[in-house]
Subunit: 212 residues, 2 copies
DNA sequence: GTAGCGTTGGCAGGTTGTTGCCAGCCGTTG
DNA sequence: CAACGGCTGGCAACAACCTGCCAACGCTAC
């Protein structure tokens, strides 16, 4: 563990849980941005020590989380239970904010153990909060985005499977009974939902989200 | 659990462990083919019930497992301890064979719970064994392949990072101080090591192996 | 000092992918 | 029944990628 006054960097989910697990006990205003459903769930205790539910929960995700029907269903369930969920096509830094007082920023997960910055300095917290608010305002309500992406979702598994098989677009299109232009339209829509600018990146992203 | 006489299909690692965990106790001739290091480790008990080590262990992997230095080091350790390890560029069906008597074939892991076929019918076991032997003979000794891939491995993380960033080859090449032809040579080598025929497939594979 | 070998990188031809354009088709609405 | 809107799919221009070819360079051995 490294400390620099109001910013503490911890490495790995265990250290993060030890450091921040208690924050869930009394939080009333929770805001988070994540690339998938798991990023912040590791910090949250799931036993009897979990107290009352926060008064306000806001969650901001990338569209890719809606490509998996079960994940989409889970998010709808959360929304039905009172959580406010929005979707943003923009790149987001994975962040969680407790009561506008404590911020945790997730570091790069590409290699080895992930680092998390736990920030309590109020000026910094305020800055991160305002960035979150801007991203939140630009987001689209879950229900609205879900309706838009429903069509993509029905075909997404087959397209992902075909993309993952390594075959050419022409072959994949024929397999689905589509013209190659239409197949490529669908692929472009998936790339957008995954927030990817290349097919390699889309492949990585799809695997991370478990949709391939 | 579904049964068809000498072939039993189980779903998920827990059922597999319950069904096949005991096989490790007295096995003396073990042969397996896997895409990563974890596929068959879930079936193996790790406590005191594990008896003596098999007399012969043969493991066949795809080259991608050597892209990660720590995975490569682990495999070298296994080889040093007496296991015979070979690498094959060909597609392999994940298989494990106990004493030429019992075979387990891993099913598709793309979605949901993975199915495993546990086969005891001797004709089928013999057939699978001979397929394994053919693939084994075509494989390359770990040490030989490792030496060949060492060069690729040093640059692989940077290339994966750049590929994963979604930027163009020209940009990535400049970032690494290489010509775009040379960069594309390295990418082609990585694609081969990953057994991928498209960049999307390579992205998926790289993420599965944890090298991006 | 020279020959041989391996690698790099520029060039180029071919393939694959990205996206715009537009004709045709189908379903809906007035 | 006609008009309209949306979607499909063929075509095409362009971009990005894939791989062969070859000159140049650096290193090693003799």
């Amino acid at each position: 563990m490294e400390t620099t006054g109001d910013v503490v960097v911890v490495r790995g989910e265990e250290e993060l849980f030890a450091r921040a697990g208690h924050l869930w006990e009394h939080v009333s205003d929770l805001a988070c941005a994540a690339n998938d459903l798991y990023t912040w769930s590791v910090t949250r205790p799931s036993g009897p020590e979990r107290q009352q539910r926060p008064e306000r929960i806001r969650k901001l995700y990338r569209p890719g989380v809606l490509l998996d029907p079960s994940t989409a269903q889970h998010l709808r369930g959360l929304a039905d239970s009172g959580a406010e969920i929005r979707i943003t096509p923009d790149e987001i830094n994975e962040t969680i904010i407790f009561d506008r007082r404590i911020v945790i920023l997730a570091g790069d997960a590409s290699y080895g153990v992930r680092g998390y910055s736990v920030i309590t300095r109020q000026e910094v917290v305020a800055g991160v909060q305002s960035l979150f608010e801007a991203a939140w305002r630009a987001g689209t309500e879950l229900a609205v985005y879900d309706a838009q992406i429903a069509e993509i979702r029905t075909l997404a598994p087959r397209i992902m499977e075909l993309l993952g098989s390594g075959c050419k677009d022409e072959t994949a299109a024929r397999t689905l009974g589509l013209g190659v232009r239409t197949y490529r339209r669908r692929v472009a829509e998936l790339m957008n939902a995954l927030g990817a600018s290349s097919r390699f990146q889309a492949g990585v992203r799809a695997r991370e989200l478990g949709v391939v």
